[in-house]
Symmetry: C2
Subunit: 418 residues, 2 copies
């Protein structure tokens, strides 16, 4: 691992440090860089403060070869990254005709944006390479010092993503080709505690070669086992070496296996549905459309996902899903009888082969002694039968509904695999 | 601001640095700490690596008074935080009867979890205070050195949240009371470019007292203007001082105002619906249940939200929402005619006062010359009429559907306000 090229990310913005915005940029950048064998050593979030940014940049440059900053490139007073970097690298701001033309083109239909603040966007440091920002007005900057590179990208996620894919990655491939391949492979299991799983696979884990490393990532009832391997770029057996280990692990955990890839459960379910040429719908009470959103989140979902009825109010359960009023009165909405009728109803009104239904108490209020917060019934209707299950979940409202979706998808996957 | 108590967060875990997991913990912790006047100076994400953790801890302790680490407390081999901290603070691991009892109680119905790996959870450093972890097996640790505090919390979000609320915050209130109040207030606007807004409010912004600071947070067509004020804890006029500034700002941006609080749009809409005693439903094609999920995301939504029809496939649009086959054939699903019928259909079948509908091309495929990816029709049905609007959105599939939801909620809020 001596040869690994390392990078650091510095995210800039007070909003990150007061908890107003969650940093999703770092995960995206790390994934892209990992693909070409660049490892992220550290992510540092700092304030829109000149001294703070300067220190973080200096420290990162002292540790790694590539530093990427995001944020602080807007036209308003709180955005200072360009000025700080200019100062740090001993550069001065000069107008760029290319950036000016681009910004004017970008806003050609929006004269209200072409004002004196926007005009500052085409001032760029004279000691950097400016890469084009196709979807925004902030120039993308690359500084070079002692053979190390610093990229400054916008903090708006979409602009950062386009910049990474279209500019940073090709620039790195040209100027900093790597000698290493990093391969991450993930297996997902459910139904066994993390510690019991660790003991179960201990011999296999201890026998892993030094170039491979296992991590356990438990969340919402699923444990993701991630095997990371570090190989020479020219090692043509890299894939095969890690495949052998994954195959052995897969055999060991077959009983609890959910997926052999790091794909969300809805993608695993979608692939199984497509392979069967089958369709699906959902009927949701407590999950309120989350299952629907998951099933159609990814491109191509129209092949298998037809629709959903979010029957939050009991009147909607009756009107659209034909849940019986007698059942609602006798057993309540959170019952095996009602969730079964909901699944059957969705399958019928949406005209699909499969359907998933949920009905539960998501909280924080609405719990009773018999049905406390976290009581959730789920049902999976297949072409042959309806299978239901009672869950006792814990956590916040969001966690309970997320876990109910995870359980429902896990159950669906089981019946799709059978 | 000399008096501000500052903290840093260190998130520990390879999963954060390879982009497998997004760090949502820091935002939660920052919000909680801000409430009591503790400012987060920096967030640092490091690997499950002893040397790396040690360096980050030493650096953070050199800069601030309070350090909180999350992650690396599980029972498996990749989790090393406890050992590293033990070593760093010159402590040794000793068994804790309290933790042992707690863990045995926690897993009393799950004998499969009480194995030799789990048993390591009740070994704790002899130089720390152990706080109870009500919902997990990892002990919460507090180390003290030269008057500075380091808290070590689990990385699993739910466990971290319970630990912060029930243990860390009361511990800080007792042992590190603060002298400062930090107040953040946010106004949300839409329909004006960021730079034009900045020019429009420039005089107001320049006249702000030195204790207040404005930030611009643009996202998905909404700009959040956050005013942060730093006050002495005993300054009884703090609220009033910031309220005066916010009132002036509100008057300045009245034309584009969406909300005077940092609440998600669905909460703003929900409050307006509740105030009217009105109900709502949705009919969604391209947004696929996202609007439904938003509207019932928060506790108490059953007061105004009845249900939704996710009519992804055209057959579902016809079957449940009674969209006319002739319209679908003549104008296509992405049309003013169809989205209007969808909104009317949802309002009718769900029996609500209002309804929102969406139909568009979310991509990445499915676009045509006439209706490229990003073409989205939205409609708001009120008790009196249906209002529709054609959007041309950009971005990824997820961004297009998110922006469509934002636009639809903005439109709904407008009609609820009128």
């Amino acid at each position: 691992m001596e040869e690994t090229m390392r990078a650091e990310i510095i995210t800039i913005g007070d909003e990150l440090l007061i908890g107003q915005v969650v940093d999703t940029n770092s995960a995206f950048m790390a994934q892209e860089l990992n693909k070409v064998g660049v490892e992220i050593y550290q992510v540092t979030s700092v304030h829109d403060d000149g001294e703070h940014i300067r220190r973080a940049v200096a420290e990162s440059l002292s540790r790694v070869d590539i530093v990427i900053t995001t944020g602080g490139l807007g036209p308003t007073k709180d955005d200072i990254t360009k000025h700080v970097l200019c100062d740090f690298f001993g550069a001065k701001l000069v107008p760029s005709c290319d950036v000016e033309q681009h910004v004017k083109q970008l806003y050609c239909n929006r004269p209200d944006v072409l004002n004196r603040l926007t005009e500052t966007q085409w001032l760029v440091p004279d000691k950097c390479t400016v890469l084009p920002n196709r979807v925004g007005s902030a120039p993308l900057m690359v500084f070079e010092q002692d053979g190390k590179l610093l990229f400054s990208l916008p903090g708006v996620p979409y602009e950062m993503e386009v910049a990474m894919i279209e500019q940073v990655m090709p620039y790195l491939a040209k100027h900093r080709p790597t000698n290493e391949t990093i391969i991450h492979r993930t297996i997902q299991v459910a139904g066994i505690p993390e510690s019991a799983l660790a003991i179960h696979i201990e011999q296999w884990e201890d026998a892993l070669p030094g170039t491979m490393h296992l991590a356990y990532l438990p969340k919402d009832g699923i444990i993701r086992l991630r095997l990371s391997g570090y190989f020479d770029k020219n090692d043509t057996t890299a894939e095969q070496q890690i495949n052998v280990q994954i195959a052995n692990l897969e055999a060991l955990v077959a009983e609890w296996l959910i997926a052999v890839e790091d794909q969300p459960l809805e993608v695993v379910a979608g692939e199984l549905l497509k392979a069967k040429g089958a369709t699906i719908s959902t009927a949701e009470s407590c999950t309120g459309g989350k299952l629907a959103s998951l099933l159609n989140k990814h491109a191509g979902s129209s092949e298998f996902y037809y629709g959903s009825v979010v029957a939050y109010d009991n009147s909607v359960k009756q009107r659209i899903l034909s849940v019986s009023k007698a059942y609602l009165e006798q057993y309540g909405a959170v019952s095996e009888q009602v969730v079964t009728q909901m699944a059957e109803g969705a399958r019928r009104v949406c005209g699909t082969d499969y359907a998933i239904a949920t009905s539960g108490v998501a909280g924080p209020s609405g719990g009773t002694k018999d049905k406390p917060v976290g009581t959730v019934w789920i049902a999976v209707a297949t072409p042959d039968a309806v299978y239901s299950e009672l869950l006792h979940l814990t956590g916040s409202r969001d966690q309970i509904t997320t876990r109910a979706c995870t359980k429902a998808l896990t159950k669906l996957i089981k019946y799709l695999r059978d």
